[in-house]
Amino acid sequence: MSRRPAFLLAVLVLAGAVAAQERFIDVRQAMADALTAAKTAAAKSDWAAAGSSVEAARTIWARDVKPLIVEGVKTNSDFREYADRIGEVEADLEAASSAAAAQDAAGLAAKINAAIWGISHHPRGFDVPPPRYSTWDWVFGLSIGIGFCVFAIWFGLYLRRSYYSRYPKAVFVRKRK
């Protein structure tokens, strides 16, 4: 394949992936909005509205969000974090539904917050393995560190020496009034 069609194909694939990601954002936002509406309604003791909002969120989850995750994870590793949390989100939604039925405002808010956090993007830095330092890492790291210091001192002294070899050290005086 020549370079130009390959480039165009790459742009098309990228554009397709971007469009899919935009849709994934929109459906999760809709679900989060429904859950937030449930929390707001519960705070006003409007339990009928709270219950229907939780059910609306569950519908969006089952119809839009979950299928996108299940399909997406097959081709894109960005969906992995959401796929790993499917069970948690479903359990939180179930618990939120029960809390709405039991008119438990605190329990409902806690489960809704957990569900929204479940469909949110979590920092990738959370999963970085703990620090590992092999012998080679120590050698490499210390070489850079010590080398850097030695170079800085040598270079600083060189600059100082070369400067004062041309210009004798000046005598500093304070301002005369």
Partner: protein, 547 residues
């Protein structure tokens, strides 16, 4: 909601008015491109930092990266940034100043000749255009999400505000506006940190929740993580980022350097750059530390975060009280406007000084180039606006900007260091080194699949250094008169006298002259060495605590 909108509108109107006010005394190219060489050190300090920190290389993008990867992002603020500022202030600025230049490519030409100047100019103009477009895009999206106002009118208003005073006032207006914006940024965005820390129980509360309860990796809180870290391996941060990219950025980024060339004396330029590392260090508390605490707040309050870039906006929208959001937006807009303004000014300076005056219209009056500067500014505004939809749709362009930076900064650092400290470096050597280093950066990424920016920069620097030295040794040395005054080994005694006189004037003391071997000291609290030492001590303390 409306109070935020009103505060934002008032802020933009004030910025517009202040910009026009500061533009009233701009009469020639020196005023327009170098602010008449009249800025004191504290203006330089504010302007350098405000130039550096915007939507893209600050609050929104760096804040997003801090949310994603943790405290490692603070290495820009606590380690390499101040290091680069101090080294550039102490060593490189003096050479630019003595060379009497307007742009960094001009310095390269004086030392090495035409070829390298043209390549460097074209690369940076492209980077600047993309940067302005990306800043406008980020600013428009941010205001759209926070204030629920349409994207395009917002982008046009931002462009009109910053474009108006840049078009009329050039660097003089930019530096004064940037200083004002620096103050607003600091005051407007600092409250977020305190509100947030109170919510999560201080820094201890953040670590005990994330590490103790959530089981988050300890590397989320490391400024210099181990070499296996997927985002920023510690040793490569030291080598590639600290020694090459940051110094290259501070000494080679036209916008950063131009603020210093606008200083009223070399002393002010140097102290301004060194002092800018103080707000640079504080910057981590404005947009890095809050974002490390953000996951706790998001999970506790049930705030949906679709991606890391959106995290900062979501945080302020949900944490700050209504009136304060408006003030915060003013602070954030200051960051964006100052960065856009400075890049706009630098792009137009390079277009006029490095392209137009050299290749198209030579030997015209100062007024002609002054008008050309305004036309260039307008052209850059228009082209950047046209690029916004591209940035909006094709994320590839940001990747291209990163690749270009990696291609440019490593080789630039190599040829600049050799230009100043090795008189034997010559034109063929620098050209071969610059091009080979740039090509090697592409090969590393495209063929070997290296994606860590710091690694690419380091190896392109090393290759460029080696090739420049080898080719220079194989070809005739440069003529002595060509490099006189712009290398470390030069005899710049006369210039030193002039510099001291400048310093004496600026600190209201009288110089007794270099020939008598007496130099008048500035007040102790304005001694650059003390400032640099104190700032480096703070960096070391921060690294020991968070490293």
């Amino acid at each position: 909601m409306y109070s935020n909108l009103v505060i934002t509108a008032i802020y933009l109107a004030l910025m517009f008015g202040a910009g026009i006010f500061f533009s009233r005394n701009i009469k020639n190219t020196s005023d327009y491109f170098l602010a008449g060489r009249s800025a004191p050190w504290f203006w330089i300090m504010g302007a350098v930092w405000a130039t550096n920190i915007g939507f893209l290389h600050g609050y929104l993008a760096h804040g997003g990266a801090a949310y994603e990867w943790g405290l490692i992002q603070a290495n820009f603020e606590w380690f390499q940034g101040p290091f680069g500022y101090i080294l550039t202030g102490l060593f490189f600025i003096a050479f630019y100043w003595r060379a009497g230049i307007y742009t960094v490519p001009q310095f390269l030409e004086r030392r090495y000749g035409n070829g390298i100047r043209t390549i460097y100019t074209l690369a940076w103009i492209f980077i600047f255009l993309v940067t302005i477009a990306a800043e406008l895009y980020l600013g428009g999206m941010f205001l759209k999400n926070i204030l629920h106002i349409p994207f395009w009118p917002t982008v046009f208003v931002l462009t009109a505000v910053v474009g108006s005073y840049m078009l009329l006032g050039g660097l003089g207006a930019a530096i004064m506006m940037e200083f004002v914006q620096f103050v607003i940024m600091m005051l407007g965005t600092m409250p977020l940190l305190f509100i947030l820390l109170k919510m999560v129980g201080g820094f201890k509360g953040i670590t005990s929740t994330l590490i103790g309860q959530w089981g988050v990796s300890a590397q989320y809180f490391s400024v210099l993580p181990d070499i296996h870290h997927p985002y920023g391996p510690g040793p490569w941060i030291v080598l590639g980022q600290c020694l090459v990219v940051t110094i290259g950025w501070c000494a080679g980024h036209q916008s950063m350097v131009q603020r210093n060339l606008g200083a009223r004396s070399l002393y002010d330029a140097k102290l301004g750059y060194v002092a800018a590392s103080i707000p640079k260090t504080l910057g981590a508390f404005l947009y890095i530390v809050p974002m490390v605490a953000a996951p706790i707040v998001f999970s506790q309050m049930g705030i949906f975060v679709e991606k890391s870039d959106a995290a900062y906006g979501k945080l302020i929208l949900n944490i700050l009280p209504q009136g304060m959001i408006g003030l915060f937006i003013a602070g954030l807009l200051s960051a964006g406007l100052s960065s856009i303004g400075s890049v706009l000014n630098s792009a137009s300076t390079m277009i006029v000084k490095d392209i137009y005056e050299r290749f198209f219209v030579k030997g015209k009056s100062d007024h002609h180039y002054f008008v050309a500067g305004r036309v260039a500014t307008l052209s850059v505004i228009v082209v950047s606006l046209l690029l916004v939809p591209v940035v909006l749709k094709v994320y590839l362009i940001m990747w291209l900007e990163q690749l270009l930076l990696a291609m440019v900064l490593g080789p630039f650092m190599a040829v600049l260091a050799l230009a100043i400290f090795w008189p034997r470096a010559n034109t063929p050597g620098s050209l071969a080194g610059f091009l080979t280093g740039g090509a090697f950066a592409i090969v590393l990424q495209q063929v070997f699949g290296v994606n860590i920016f710091f690694q690419i920069s380091w190896w392109s620097f090393v290759v460029s250094l080696a090739v420049t030295v080898a080719v220079s040794l194989l070809t005739p040395p440069p003529k002595k008169e060509k490099i006189e005054g712009i290398t470390w080994q030069s005899n710049f005694e006369a210039m030193v006298g002039e510099v001291i006189e400048d310093r004496a004037l600026s600190t209201a003391v009288r110089a007794t002259g270099i020939k008598a071997k007496t130099i008048v000291l500035p007040p102790w609290y304005l001694n650059i060495k003390y400032w640099a030492t104190a700032i480096l001590a703070v960096q070391i303390a921060l690294l020991l605590f968070f490293g």
